[in-house]
């Protein structure tokens, strides 16, 4: 895949501006590694990758590849204390983009191919409708606005917000809050350990929504006309049902509580499992 490796070095003293063009097929793959600084990517309609950036003194910029796949990365002058490099990149809109940073925020818009975005503690922001989006952070927040068909977002302590629709969406945190809005959703799964979950959106008639948490609160709001069946089980938490008249019943052996209820015509299946987080179900106008 890597036909030729082009090396571009910068003088050790001054901050260097770089600009580089690399041919890349409309559905080619492009890989970016920039640990510190920032990475902004736009999708465009050319079969070229354009990279513009400002390198920190002493850092080196490497880029190269072929028409089907290319990559670029920044090599830091001092690995122990890397200085920021800010990058702005244009890639073919249907490209498959892979980005990895440590603390550099990642901001992608207009890329419809596939996105694989990884950071340790920076924020990931995606706008657009990629076919596939996989975004992972340890300590960073993830914000997605748009309608990726397939979506997986993971952060341990960062928060995840999503505004849009998806046919297969997954959201996972340990302690970060998860906020999902919009829809319609065909399949969505939200999983936290202690992070609070808010869902306010539409679900397809054949859709399924699953919410799993240990102690985070779960607040689900669906539009009035939704047809869905709810199944909520809690080992030690409370269930508040404002979506229908049904009241929660005591769980097995009198511990915890559970609720099974339907609204509208049979349709979507919404399930909630929690150890001790409070659950609230509501309907919106």
């Amino acid at each position: 895949m890597l036909a030729a490796m082009l090396v571009c070095t910068s003088p050790l003293s001054a901050q260097k501006k770089i600009e580089r063009r690399i041919p890349l097929g409309m559905e080619g793959a492009f890989r970016v590694m920039n640990m510190v600084g920032s990475v902004v990517v736009h999708g465009w309609s050319k079969d070229t990758v354009l990279i513009r950036g400002t390198l920190a003194p002493g850092d080196q910029f490497f880029a190269g590849g072929g028409y089907t796949g290319a990559k670029m990365f920044i090599e830091s002058a001092n690995d122990r204390n890397p200085k920021p490099t800010s990058l702005e990149i244009w890639v073919p809109a249907r490209a498959r983009l892979w980005v990895k940073t440590a603390t550099a925020p990642i901001d992608v818009d207009g890329v419809d191919g596939g996105l694989d975005l990884y950071t340790v503690s920076a924020t990931i922001e995606v706008t657009g409708n990629p076919r596939e989006l996989n975004a992972e952070a340890i300590d960073g927040d993830i914000h997605v606005t748009g309608s990726p068909a397939w979506l997986r977002t993971k952060s341990a302590s960062g928060a995840i917000t999503f505004r849009g629709a998806s046919s297969d969406a997954g959201f996972s945190t340990v302690s970060g809050a998860v906020r999902v809005e919009g829809g319609p959703f065909e399949r969505a799964k939200v999983e936290t350990v202690t992070g609070n979950v808010t869902f306010n959106g539409r679900v397809e008639r054949s859709g399924t929504l699953d919410f799993d948490t240990h102690s985070g609160s779960v607040d689900i709001a669906v539009p009035d006309k939704t047809g869905a069946s709810f199944s909520v089980v809690s080992i030690a938490g409370t269930i508040t049902n404002n979506a229908s008249r049904a009241t929660p019943t005591a769980g097995r052996f009198g511990r915890g509580s559970e609720l099974t209820t339907e609204i509208g015509d049979p349709g979507a299946k919404i399930s909630v499992r929690t150890f001790k987080g409070p659950v609230t179900l509501r309907r919106t106008k």
Binding site: R31, M33, K100, A102, T103, Y118, V120, S121, E136, I138, D139, K154, A156, S157, S172, V174, S175, E191, V193, T194, T208, D210, D212, H214, S215, S229, S231, V233, I235, A236, G251, R252, F253, R255, E258, T260, K269, S271, R273, F275, K276
Partner: protein, 227 residues
């Protein structure tokens, strides 16, 4: 015994560790020697102050939670590395390790276990809390799965520990906090399961927690590696 010799015996004399034979002569000398009696008094003062030092000092409040966290990790590792039975250390209770359970573990294949744990059709969700009497096989099956997770988690944890210096200290702290959060959830779910061993929901929750832990560890080790 001369003064020069006795001078060096005064320490033991004061703490009563001198031999019977030597006590007499030393005592006699001390009675008439100003230097030595001053020395004896001074030693007695030091020892008195030593004995007055508080026997107990209150440790900082967070010490216990650090110990507890480390112990939880130990327990998870120990269970994973245990070569005795498939029973995790936490559940060393007689009624869990029944002959039937042991046999069930041997019979069940991991694919069956995986299929059981991964199945989440809605009908099974709804029936989770119906009164089904659990067979020992259910718990035993989970035990096998749990050990797999514990082994993976342990191996990944070791890998992560080696790479710790590659991550910023704040990130390491945040990561450890997240792992602790998951461990606490695991502990709560396990305690509940120990009291209510036929609760399939708890088994599924525990399984989810383990998956989360292994996933977080795996992701973290991958973050520090270049590509």
């Amino acid at each position: 015994m001369t003064h020069e010799v006795i001078r060096h015996l005064l320490d033991d004399y004061v703490t009563g560790e001198l031999s019977e034979d030597a006590r007499g002569p030393v005592a006699d000398h001390v009675a008439v020697c100003e230097i030595c009696s001053a020395e004896v008094e001074s030693l007695e003062r030091i020892l008195a102050r030593a004995s007055e030092l508080p026997k107990s000092i209150e440790p900082p409040a967070e010490a216990w939670s650090n110990i507890r966290t480390a112990i939880l990790r130990e327990e998870n590792s120990a269970a994973a590395h245990s070569t005795r039975t498939a029973t995790p250390a936490f559940w060393r209770r007689p009624w869990v390790v029944t002959a039937a359970a042991a046999a069930a573990v041997a019979v069940l294949s991991s694919t069956i276990t995986a299929a059981y744990l991964n199945s989440r059709s809605h009908t099974s969700s709804a029936s989770i809390t119906t009164s089904e009497t659990a067979t020992p096989a259910t718990l035993a099956a989970f035990t096998v799965e749990e050990n797999n997770y514990l082994r993976q988690a342990s191996a990944l944890q070791d890998l992560l520990d080696q790479q710790e210096t590659a991550l910023a200290p704040e990130t390491v702290a945040q990561l450890k906090a997240s792992l602790r959060t998951i461990d606490e959830a695991i502990l709560e779910a396990r305690s509940a399961l120990a009291r209510d061993p036929s609760n399939k929901l708890l088994i599924e929750m525990l399984s989810t927690n383990y998956k989360q832990k292994v996933d977080l560890l795996r992701r973290s080790t991958e973050m520090t590696r270049g590509t």
